[in-house]
Amino acid sequence: MKRMHVRTLLTVGIVAAFAGLVALSYVQTAPDPADSQYYLARPLSETGASNRVAGIYLNYRLIDTLLEVLVFSVAVLGVRYYLRKSDNIDLPDLSESEVVQTAVSFLSPLALLLCMFFAIFGHISPGGGFAAGVIAASALLYVAIAYGMTATEARWDPRRLAFAEKAILLSLLIFILVPAFVGKSPLTDLLPKGTPGDLLSSGSILIYNMLIAAKVFIGAWLIIAAFALHRGEL
């Protein structure tokens, strides 16, 4: 047998053995899912959110979500920093044909509508701020593919978007600290909870969803724009 084959087989064997061991130990000691009722046991009116998942990551465990948003911002910052020096050769005009442009001109607003639906109704139905932001970024990506990167850059200037991103982050911070002035600890929810299932329910989960959607949209679009500009085309 050739040496490469021996090495490959040995690697496959070792990894398979380890994976098998882990699977076996999990199957034998897996906890019963019916035991995990910690958050489901709490009444719905505590968070007021119909969407239990949103109630957890935007109310009980808000700090985790905000720190994840911070990690996202740092990653976007890193991508923009390392791709900053783009030698400006003539960017080719790579806009697509009329067919694609027409199709995008009515598909992209649909995607934006979906983003707004997920952001605004994130506490009632599945979705949430993260999905909304990503969908909006891909909507803008379709526009950029159809009309070319230069035209899209003219309307969505990356530097202004970066400024808007920092403004959103700052407003998020201020919104968290507001309860500290009233006398409660930061991160508590001061807005009324309402009846679950209504649009204006669940306190500030609505506001967090919209802020996170905007933040993730700008961040993801800045990443894509940095990649596209570095390559000189989209």
């Binding site: 699977a23 985790d64 994840e68 993260f130 990443i223």
Partner: protein, 121 residues
């Protein structure tokens, strides 16, 4: 059952990470390891005959555990951003050494280390 598939995918991801030499494929394998971990998280909350964790008041159905889903939701988006950063580093590496083959890049770096003169001693 889904947990076992998650372990299998994790194993496939590690195998691809070790055995393939192209850096871009290695990054794809890292993405697969991410996906396998997330699948495992979702699978431990799933119960027999339960429903999605959307509950209107007055509803008394059994719900799936929402905690693993909440943990994993923001992790997916952050994984994407970190993957983009890793891809930036791969691009910089490729522009520096003009290859995406990891063995060749290692040889180039070893050659550079051999050829440079150590400033001290």
């Amino acid at each position: 059952m889904a947990a076992i598939v998650a372990f299998i995918l994790f194993g496939i991801g590690i195998l691809a990470l070790v055995l393939r030499r192209d850096l871009v494929i290695k990054l794809l394998a890292l993405g697969m390891i991410n996906a396998a971990s997330i699948l495992f998280f979702i699978s431990i909350g799933d119960r027999q005959g339960a429903r999605s964790p959307i509950q209107l008041p007055g509803d008394t159905a059994i719900l799936v555990d929402p905690l693993p889903q909440a943990l994993v939701l923001s992790a997916i988006v952050v994984n994407f951003a970190i993957l983009a950063l890793a891809l930036v580093f791969v691009m910089i590496l490729c522009e520096r050494y003009h290859s995406t083959d990891s063995t060749r890049i290692e040889q180039e770096i070893a050659r550079e280390i051999d050829e440079e003169e150590t400033p001290c001693l």
